[in-house]
């Protein structure tokens, strides 16, 4: 197990390093960051001043090293727009996004796993068709539009929930549904096909031949095996949700990290943008490593060599 986990962590560290290079190079994608910062009407002297203040005149590799080591210490520089340390702004905003992410993945798992299992137990039944409908619609519905429709129905027409903001828990209901539903189809499909595969496996037949009650066969023998790939997928979906939060938070004007990302991108606030790309990637990497460890523990073939 140790070997498996260590291998995964080494891979994750290399991925993280590569991602940091990519986030760093975003700054230089547009050409000269000093020109971008100075704005359209700046003269050469002003641009040169910015260049020197921010150290853009140094070699790229030095700039990268400097940025990376500061970042490792938790210092992402100062936001061009907010004129505040980036770390402080992100720390504030991340709480909302993390809460939203947690609520959404819970919503997705609670909806998709039972439905996926039920669908697999009775293929082509009413439940299976309902599950298929939920997943087909979920895959096709653009989340920003789904969010707007929910606002129209629940906030404007029915006046049940707020259309925006995070002043109370009610503000999280609609965003959670939208973001959670976004992750539901994939998890449900994998649960369903995984269960179908496992239910026709020889060892499930052995379990039935022992005379175990159906409940035991399904939950102890089948689901336990079918859930292993779902763990990995759920981690990946959690990472994707962070990306999705950019869209959902701006629809619901929820001032989390996703909303901040959109703000900073629209305002060319490069340090914030860089920091967010890096942080979102790190979250994704951390989730997948956690899933690998969880799987190594769930699956004896990985745990005991």
């Amino acid at each position: 197990m140790l070997r498996f986990v260590v291998g995964k962590i080494v891979m994750a560290a290399l991925v993280a390093l590569t991602v940091s290079i990519i986030s760093f190079s975003l700054l230089h994608l547009s050409g000269d960051p000093a020109v971008a910062m100075a704005g359209e009407n700046a003269n050469d002297a002003a641009i040169q001043a910015i260049r020197e203040t921010y150290g853009f005149d140094r070699p790229l590799i030095v700039q990268y090293g400097d940025w990376l080591f500061s970042a490792l210490r938790g210092d992402f520089g100062e936001s061009y727009y907010f004129r505040m340390p980036v770390t402080q702004i992100i720390a504030d905003r991340l709480q909302i996004t993390m809460l939203l992410g947690l609520l959404s993945i819970t919503f997705a798992l609670v909806l998709s796993i039972p439905l996926g299992v039920a669908a697999a137990l009775r293929p082509n039944s009413l439940v299976d068709r309902a599950a298929l409908f939920v997943s087909v619609v979920g895959q096709a519905i653009p989340s920003f539009w789904f969010g707007l429709i929910l606002i129209v129905v629940f906030a404007i027409d029915l006046r049940l929930l707020p259309a925006s903001g995070a002043k109370s828990w009610t503000g999280f209901v609609l965003p959670t549904i939208v973001l959670g539903y976004y992750a539901t189809p994939a998890i449900m499909r994998l649960t369903r096909t995984g269960m179908l595969d496992v239910l026709s496996a020889d060892y499930v037949r052995t379990a039935r031949a022992k005379g175990l009650p159906a409940r035991k066969v399904i939950f102890k023998h089948a689901l336990r095996n079918a859930i292993i790939p779902v763990v990995s997928l759920a981690a990946v979906q959690m990472g994707f949700m962070l990306g999705g939060s950019v869209v959902v938070e701006s629809v619901f004007a929820l001032h989390g990290a996703g909303y901040l990302a959109w703000e900073s991108i629209s305002r060319n606030d490069l340090p914030t943008m860089q920091a967010l790309v890096l942080i979102f990637s790190m979250f994704y990497i951390a989730f997948t490593v956690l899933a690998d460890i969880l799987n190594a523990w769930l699956d004896p073939r990985l745990r005991v060599a």
Partner: protein, 299 residues
């Protein structure tokens, strides 16, 4: 349980060829037929948009602003009403289909080329090649697509070319993942070894023995990614960092309609439904292809 197979081996000398069987199943597959039909209609509307659209999609008639569609009490002069700048909504919708389909096709093609190459190589060779490619896939997956796409569009400007290239360069991960495992599986089947023993060169094995047997999975992923690209373009445009006004993009139409959300919700409903139907149709075709080409597909 070989014993329990429905047709005993050796008993049915004249079974259908793979292609015949897929066609036979396809015609009975309701999702595939429905999705295919809807998709065909949307494609036809997009192709013939210049003939079908009653107005120029860019024409602003300020006296005709915010006319409701016919079913909400409007007139047939503007069957789907007009937007805040007095542009005919039906015309914009028809031209918007072109944008969506173009983005979907081109982005999916670019990413299919990248992802398939990487996936097939990783799956065929295994070992170090596989490690390197798996690493690349992991890097790609770790980057948040929406964020990176938004940032790149913001930095390079929101032209159709930029949006399409960014999406094409970002969406290859699923092609690589799926084709890697499909190739790995096919690689171990003995007909590949047989071809090798018969002196077939590597390109010939890839072309004759690997590709035809992973093609169905490629098609399925291509549909998924086409749908994905279409949704992402709409989302980027909705956030103001995709295709730029006045181009008629469905995402942009929803974004523009958002300002009128309180009073004129049809402004977002109409392009939203169009987007939903298009993506739904593409996904149904993909699911259908998977069902009719898998050996033990559900009938």
């Amino acid at each position: 349980m070989v014993e329990m197979s429905v047709t005993a081996p050796g008993s049915a000398p004249l079974r259908l060829t793979p292609r015949q069987r897929a066609w036979k199943r396809a015609r009975r597959h309701r999702g595939l037929v429905f999705g295919g039909a809807v998709l065909a209609v949307i494609v036809a509307l997009a192709i013939f948009a210049p003939l079908l659209a009653p107005y120029d999609p860019y024409l602003q008639t300020l006296s005709e602003r915010m006319k409701p569609p016919v079913f909400l009490g409007g007139s047939f002069a503007h069957p789907l009403g007009t937007d805040a700048l007095g542009r005919d909504y039906l015309s914009r919708l028809l031209y918007g289909a072109r944008v969506s389909l173009f983005i979907g096709l081109v982005a999916a093609t670019i990413s299919a080329l990248i992802g398939t190459t990487l996936g097939v190589l990783a799956g065929y060779f295994g070992g170090r090649v596989d490690t390197v490619i798996t690493f690349l896939i992991n890097v790609r997956l770790a980057l948040p697509v929406v964020l990176v796409a938004l940032a790149v569009v913001a930095l390079l400007g929101g032209s159709l070319t930029v949006v399409v290239s960014v999406l094409g360069l970002l969406l290859w991960d699923r092609f690589a993942v799926v084709l890697r495992s499909a190739t790995r599986q096919v690689r171990t089947i003995e007909y590949v070894a047989a071809a090798e023993v018969l002196g077939a060169s590597l390109p010939r094995i890839l072309y004759k023995d690997i590709m035809p047997n992973v093609a169905n999975q490629l098609i399925v992923v291509a549909t998924l990614e086409m749908a994905h690209a279409i949704i992402l373009e709409a989302a980027l445009s909705f956030l103001g960092l995709g295709v730029q006004p006045p181009t008629p993009s469905w995402g942009l139409m929803i974004s523009e309609g958002k300002a009128m959300l309180l009073f004129q919700s049809w402004l977002i409903t109409i392009p939203g439904v169009a987007l939903f139907l298009l993506v739904l149709a593409i996904n149904m075709v993909g699911d259908g292809v998977r069902d009719v080409t898998t050996p033990e597909g559900r009938d």
